[in-house]
Amino acid sequence: MAEYWHIVPEFDSRLQEFRNSNPEADVVLEFEIAEKDFVNSGKGSAEVKNLLKRLGVDPDTLRRIAVASYEAEINVTAHSKGGKMVSSIYDEMIHIAFRDKGPGIGDIDQAMVPGFSTADDLVREMGFGAGLGLPNIKKNSDIMHIVSERGSSTLLEIFIFYS
């Protein structure tokens, strides 16, 4: 099993705090992501975005969440056998978990290199698969966590704090 962490240093203690207290989310949104369903892919992150607008999350943070969650949703659509997006909303941050049904990321460090892609022809024809997904998620997240195993499922977690 491989694991990858990206933590913006100032959020390290808040992550520890979160893991220790394991607070219950105020609002939870769940969204099923079907394999290669590009028609509906993006709807989950759009729903999250609209909800956060209603909560009055500031525009810059909102756009970072929108980009990271959209990219991650497209990733599950394009590269996995489908999965689930669970967005947990708290009053100071959002935690989004993408759990798919495989086939797992072979080499996470390689997948984090901008431009590296394993996308097949169908995905590229749809205009995706430029190899910028994971790097883009990293760029827009305060904390990013990947747990994966080749031949098994992948869990991608994103934490973004409102400013």
């Binding site: 609002v27 992150s45 975005k49 209603r54 909560l55 009055g56 810059d60 009053d91």
Partner: protein
């Protein structure tokens, strides 16, 4: 036309006597600004963007576009009409465009100018702006007032992307006012400049412009309102037309697709989007940084652009075809591009940074907003999820929100009421 006590002016009026409470308007409003309460439609002035969807949806003439009465031009010594480019598409092809323009002099105007006169300059100005603001992508067009208000209301994070320069008819207004003062030795208040407009949003923009620093127009007349009188004059003058100069080449402005084609060039990639639903979808993609490959996006709330305005007479596609024909057959017009470029360099067309009109937040405080969101979800589970609008709110979600915000009650749901009646 005054209701200055309200924060936001809207060029719409509800005639309560005509309103049947049918909810047709409620269902087509892109910002969910309309509710039926006590069997009558009400518009939330903070949410309305003046797109005109409700005017077109209402079959009972209960939502009426407002514009100024033509007699207000008599308050001015020198009267100028500026016609929207879509005007040219409203007449059958046996009526030459110059005759349709001449008819406006007959209405009492001393001068008739065309939005089309500034198209050449505006294309150059937009290209210059796009090149000078390379750090912002994409730049979003600002000439459609409904789109500007839509961004203020629903996409405030995109306000910095909006082209911060005056729209074509306002640019022309600035130029004409200055020119006439010089030429005729008149003071500013002697000159009345009026727009002939295809849509509600333009009437609103004349009465409550966004971000503008200058005195612009003195009134706006609806295309539909003056059409009858114009047709009468056309009949009279058709056999003895005067040689009147026209600017067909610039009529491209009436068509959102053609505008984008003209701005598109080697280093500027332009996209054209029209129809308010499409505009909202694309703005959401822009928010996700998914359309950053475009340098400029033309956004128009009406179908095909201004030819689709709800105050127009002709179908948007027929009008578009006519305008295209005029453009194709046109000769090179006189240009005022040079004079306008000088004014542009002096910063005459700048506008103030646009401010958001935040309607989306459930509460100023995020903790309270979350509380309300939870309550909304609790009500949502109780509601039937039919989105039938019979309660007067557009969707079950909107009703749940209205209940939480104290603007409605769960008893407003007709479906639940029926279910409960059966159980009793």
């Amino acid at each position: 036309m005054n209701n200055k006590d309200q924060k936001y002016f809207h060029a719409l009026q509800i005639l309560a006597d005509n309103c049947t409470g049918c909810t047709a308007c409620v269902r087509v409003c892109p910002t969910e600004a309309i509710r039926i309460r006590n069997r009558k439609a009400t518009i939330d002035a903070n949410r309305c963007i003046d797109c005109g969807n409700c005017v077109e949806a209402c079959q009972f003439h209960a939502i009426i576009p407002r514009s100024d009465g033509l007699d207000i031009i008599r308050n001015f010594h020198y009267k100028v009409a500026i016609i929207s480019s879509s005007y040219a598409g409203q007449f059958s092809e046996d009526i030459p465009y110059s005759v349709a323009k001449q008819a406006l002099y007959e209405l009492g105007f001393d001068e008739v100018a065309e939005e089309a006169m500034v198209t050449d300059f505006v294309i150059r100005m937009i290209r210059d702006y796009v090149r000078q603001n390379k750090h912002i992508r994409p730049i979003l067009s600002s000439s459609c007032p409904a789109v500007v208000r839509l961004i203020q209301v629903k996409f405030p994070s995109l306000l910095p992307n909006v082209l911060h320069q005056e729209a074509p008819m306002s640019i022309l207004t600035r130029y004409i006012r200055e020119r006439i003062q010089e030429e005729k030795g008149l003071v500013e208040s002697d000159i009345g400049i009026f727009l002939i407009v295809p849509c509600v949003a333009h009437v609103t923009a004349v009465h409550q412009p966004e971000g503008t620093y200058k005195h612009l127009q003195d009134g706006a007349f609806s295309m539909g309102m003056i059409y009858g009188k114009v047709k009468e004059h056309i009949k009279k003058i058709q056999n003895n037309p005067l040689p009147i100069k026209t600017y067909e080449k610039g009529l491209t402005w009436a068509l959102s697709g053609v505008e984008a084609d003209m701005i598109d060039c080697e280093d500027i990639r332009a996209l054209s989007v029209n129809g308010v639903e499409n505009v909202m979808e694309v703005l959401s993609r822009v928010e996700d940084h998914y359309l950053d490959q475009y340098d400029y996006i033309v956004l128009r709330s009406c179908t095909n652009g201004c030819v689709g305005g709800c105050l127009n007479i002709e179908n948007p596609f027929v009008a578009m075809s006519r305008v295209k024909k005029l453009i194709k057959e046109a000769s090179e017009p006189d240009s005022i591009t040079e004079q306008l470029t000088d004014l542009y360099k002096e910063g005459e067309f700048k506008v103030a940074p646009l401010a958001p009109r935040s309607i989306m937040e459930l509460d100023k405080d995020i903790k309270n907003a979350i509380k309300k969101m939870k309550q909304i979800n609790e009500f949502l589970i109780m509601l039937p999820g039919l989105n039938c609008s019979a309660c007067g709110s557009p969707t079950c979600y909107a009703l749940a929100e209205d209940i939480v915000q104290g603007r409605a009650s769960i008893d407003d749901c007709v479906v639940l009421l029926k279910r409960h009646a059966k159980e009793d």
